[in-house]
């Protein structure tokens, strides 16, 4: 029994990251594909929510804790609510516009498949300047056994090197939200 358990733990150590990655990647791709082809737009919206959650898991697996939380708050909590509101407020369409037609799917595949082929070829064929895995893995546990995370480093960068884009983004968000509120109230006429 203990022998079997030991073997299982060793297998988890070897294959665990791969199993985790392929599981999450499968979830992300399957829910994204269903969001694209679903007949009803509300099914599509909820499938997109699963996709965003899977992307948050990907960020966590990449060691980017702050971004994983931001993804859940902004996408799953904010943008998804906006999209669901959009669906609910405009869902009085005739059936033929809600469905996705064979003709447009063929047109879409004619664009998407060559793009996918080119991107996969470029991603798999280029030798990226990857830092040695040992150095990258050894860096975090240096601070007394606990992983310090990336939040402090991101905060420092945002308030030093990227201060101007950071402040500019806040102005941009303000302008966009005021403009959106103005437009949505029907004042554009």
């Amino acid at each position: 029994m203990a022998e079997l358990l030991g073997k299982l733990t060793a297998a988890m150590g070897t294959y665990g990251p791969a199993v985790l990655f392929y599981g999450v990647a499968g979830l992300v791709l399957a829910s994204a594909a269903y969001a694209v082809v679903a007949k009803k737009i509300d099914h599509s919206a909820f499938s997109l929510m699963a996709c965003f959650t899977g992307v948050a898991a990907l960020y966590a697996m990449l060691g980017s804790d702050f971004l994983a939380v931001t993804q859940v708050i902004v996408y799953v909590g904010g943008i998804m609510i906006l999209i669901v509101f959009g669906v609910l407020l405009t869902d009085r369409l005739p059936v033929e516009y809600r469905q996705i037609s064979r003709e447009t799917v063929v047109q879409g595949l004619a664009v998407a498949v060559p793009v996918m082929a080119a991107l996969v070829w470029a991603a798999a064929g280029t030798s990226w300047p990857v830092v040695a895995e040992a150095a990258a893995a050894a860096a975090p546990p240096a601070a007394g056994g606990t992983d310090p995370g990336t939040t402090a480093a991101i905060g420092k960068l945002l308030l030093t090197d990227y201060l101007f884009p950071f402040e500019f983004a806040s102005v941009l968000l303000l302008v966009a939200l005021v403009g959106a509120a103005r437009m949505a109230r029907g004042g554009a006429k």
């Binding site: 990655f21 990907l58 999209i83 959009g86 369409l93």
Partner: protein, 110 residues
């Protein structure tokens, strides 16, 4: 570990790049194939997420460090602003013409 399976079992930068390429193409498919404007918006969000996965993966696996997540944060900010504007435009369009079909929104064609 079987050496033939090594490229598939050691998850590295390329795995994340291929995954985000697939997400990106699904987003393009949604943008072209959907006639409903909300479906097109869903495609755009997929594309932005694919770009973010790329940025974070480069930040983790190359010497870019925390700059990858910082750029991803800017992309998320822009995506939020874009979603708000797009949905306001959709509501305005729906008020005017009673539909969010992109085939019918052709007034500006002249």
């Amino acid at each position: 570990m079987n050496p033939a399976l090594r490229p598939f079992l050691e998850i590295g930068l390329t795995h994340y790049l291929v995954l985000s390429s697939l997400m990106f193409s699904l987003g393009i498919l949604a943008m072209v194939a959907r006639r409903n404007a909300i479906g097109v918006l869903i495609g755009i969000e997929l594309i932005l997420n694919a770009a973010n996965v790329n940025l974070v993966a480069f930040g983790r696996f190359t010497d870019a460090g925390p700059q990858g997540p910082v750029f991803a944060i800017f992309v998320i900010m822009l995506a939020a602003a874009e979603a708000a504007i797009a949905l306001a435009l959709l509501l305005s369009l729906f008020e005017r013409s009673g539909s969010v079909s992109l085939d019918e929104a052709s007034e500006l064609k002249g």
